[in-house]
C-alpha cells in the first residue's frame, strides 16, 4: 500500500502536478529502473576498518540540541533549502521515528537548511546522544542543501572505504564506519545527492535493510 502511494506520488512529481510543497525532484525515478535491487558490496568490504590508536574527540552532544523539533509524523516530504526532500518509507519493523529536527546550518538565518531524523528501537529523551542511540538498532537520516557530499566525492575522499551503489536514479556510497565511542560500535552509512540536496544515513541496521530504506525513497 505504502509503495503504491509512493509510486503515485512519484508519477505526480514527474508530471509536475504535485502542487505546492511537492516540487519535482531532480532525476525523478522510474520504479522499474536499475537502482532498486539492493546493494552489492565488494568481497571483504565489511572487514575494512581502522581500529588503531586515535587522538580523541569531544563527547557526543544530546541529539535534541541539533535543531528545532519538527512534527513529521506520516510525512513523505520535508522542505529543505527550497526543495522537497523525500523521506524513508520502508523502515525495519522494530525501528520508529523518535525525533525530527530542523536547523539552519551556520546560523545563517536562511530557514531550514538541514533536517535530521533519528529512528531507533528505544525512546529518546533530552540527554540521549547518537552514541547512546546506536547501542541498539538506530538510523540517523540527514538532508541538507547540496554541498558536494555526493557519492563521487565520498569515494574520492576515503577511497576503498567507500563502495559505490545505486540509490534509485542516483549514485550512492556505502561506508562501514570505523568504531564509534567507548562501545566501538560500527555503523553502516550511505551518502548520495540528487543535485539539489545531499542525503546521508548512519545506521546500525544491516546493509540489506539499509538498501531497502534508502531505495524506498525512489522505488516502488
Amino acid at each position: 500500500m505504502m509503495r503504491s502511494r509512493i509510486k503515485l506520488l512519484t508519477a505526480l512529481l514527474a508530471l509536475g502536478l504535485a502542487g505546492a510543497g511537492c516540487t519535482a525532484q531532480a532525476g525523478a525515478p522510474d520504479p522499474d529502473q536499475a537502482g532498486c535491487e539492493g546493494f552489492t558490496l565488494p568481497p571483504g568490504f565489511a572487514d575494512l576498518v581502522y581500529d588503531g590508536p586515535t587522538f580523541g574527540r569531544p563527547p557526543f552532544r544530546p541529539i535534541v540540541t541539533f535543531g528545532t523539533s519538527l512534527d513529521l509524523s506520516g510525512a513523505r516530504f520535508v522542505r529543505v533549502a527550497g526543495a522537497d526532500a523525500l523521506l524513508p518509507q520502508d523502515l525495519p519493523a522494530d525501528v520508529t521515528l523518535r525525533v525530527a529536527l530542523g536547523g539552519d546550518e551556520g546560523a545563517l538565518g536562511t530557514g531550514y537548511e538541514v533536517v535530521q531524523l533519528f529512528y531507533g528501537d528505544s525512546a529518546v529523551d533530552e540527554s540521549t546522544t547518537f552514541e547512546d542511540l546506536i547501542r541498539g538498532r538506530a538510523i540517523r537520516f540527514v538532508v541538507h542543501r547540496a554541498e558536494g557530499d555526493d557519492a563521487a566525492t565520498v569515494k574520492s575522499t576515503i577511497k576503498d572505504r567507500a563502495a559505490l551503489v545505486r540509490i534509485g536514479p542516483h549514485d550512492g556510497a556505502v561506508v562501514h564506519s570505523d568504531p564509534i565511542g567507548a562501545l566501538r560500535v560500527r555503523t553502516w552509512d550511505v551518502y548520495w545527492s540528487d543535485g539539489r540536496l545531499d542525503y546521508s544515513v548512519e545506521s546500525t541496521v544491516e546493509p540489506d535493510e539499509l538498501a531497502r530504506l534508502t531505495q524506498s525513497l525512489y522505488c516502488q
Partner: protein, 224 residues
C-alpha cells in the same frame, strides 16, 4: 511540517542546560578541554603550548576541534608527541611538538597529515579551522586549516557547520596523569564573516578539570 511549541520550549531549556550535562572527557582518552556549544563555521585560537610530564607515555596532543552538526565527523588541528603511530601520522618523540590534523571523514578516522614542528613551550601559536573555499585547486567548500596565518591544509568531512568549538589537552593511555595546563588566548568562533570571542563562555568537560577565565577571549584549561 510544523514546529511543536512545547518541545521547542523544552529544547531551549535543554540547550541552556547542556553545558553541564557531560560526564566524560575525550573517551577513550583522557584530558581536559574548554568548549562552547554554538553553531559555527570556524574556530580560531591562540595557544601557549605546555611541556609534557617527563615520564609521559603513549601520546599527548592539544587540538583545536570542531564537531560536525550533521554527522559523527570531526576535525582536530593542533600538536602532538607520540611514541606510537596514530593513524597515518608517525610516531614522534622529539623535544618539539609535531603539528597535525586528524578527524573522521564520512565516518572513517584519519590522521591526515603533519606539518613540521613547533618548539616545546612555544607561545602564541594560532590554529584556525574554517569552512570556506580551499585556496588550493580543485577543492572548494572545505574545512581549511591555517597555522599562524599560513595556509596548511584542506579536508572534507560530512558537514558544513560545527555544533561547537573545542580546545584542550589530551593523552592516550597508558601513562602517568599529565599536569595539563593549556593556555588558550583569543578564542573565537566564526559567525558569517565575523569572528566572535568565546573565551569567557568556555566550559570544562569533566571535573576535576576546570577553566580559569582570563578575559572575554582567553581561558586556561587545567587538570590538576
Amino acid at each position: 511540517m510544523r514546529r511543536s511549541p512545547v518541545v521547542a520550549v523544552a529544547l531551549v531549556v535543554a540547550l541552556g542546560a547542556a553545558n553541564a550535562a557531560y560526564a566524560a572527557c575525550y573517551p577513550p582518552n583522557k584530558g581536559a578541554h574548554g568548549y562552547y556549544l554554538v553553531p559555527t563555521t570556524g574556530v580560531r585560537i591562540q595557544v601557549d603550548l605546555f611541556n609534557r610530564h617527563p615520564a609521559a607515555d603513549s601520546a599527548i596532543a592539544h587540538p583545536v576541534q570542531i564537531t560536525s552538526a550533521t554527522s559523527t565527523d570531526f576535525i582536530g588541528w593542533g600538536t602532538y608527541r607520540s611514541k606510537v603511530v596514530v593513524g597515518s601520522c608517525p610516531a614522534y618523540d622529539g623535544t618539539a611538538w609535531r603539528v597535525y590534523i586528524d578527524g573522521r571523514s564520512y565516518n572513517t578516522y584519519f590522521c591526515w597529515a603533519t606539518f613540521g614542528t613547533v618548539a616545546a613551550g612555544a607561545a602564541n601559536q594560532v590554529f584556525q579551522l574554517r569552512y570556506e573555499n580551499c585556496p588550493v585547486t580543485p577543492y572548494s567548500g572545505r574545512w581549511v586549516a591555517f597555522l599562524n596565518g599560513t595556509f596548511k591544509d584542506c579536508e572534507r568531512i560530512n558537514g558544513t557547520t560545527a555544533d561547537g568549538v573545542f580546545a584542550g589537552g589530551e593523552w592516550i593511555s597508558p601513562g602517568p596523569a599529565q599536569d595539563i595546563d593549556v593556555h588558550y588566548e583569543q578564542a573565537k568562533y566564526a559567525l558569517g564573516s565575523n569572528w566572535i570571542g568565546w573565551g569567557s563562555l568556555a566550559k570544562c568537560e569533566d571535573p576535576p578539570c576546570r577553566i580559569r577565565k582570563i578575559s572575554n577571549t582567553d581561558f586556561w584549561a587545567e587538570l590538576p
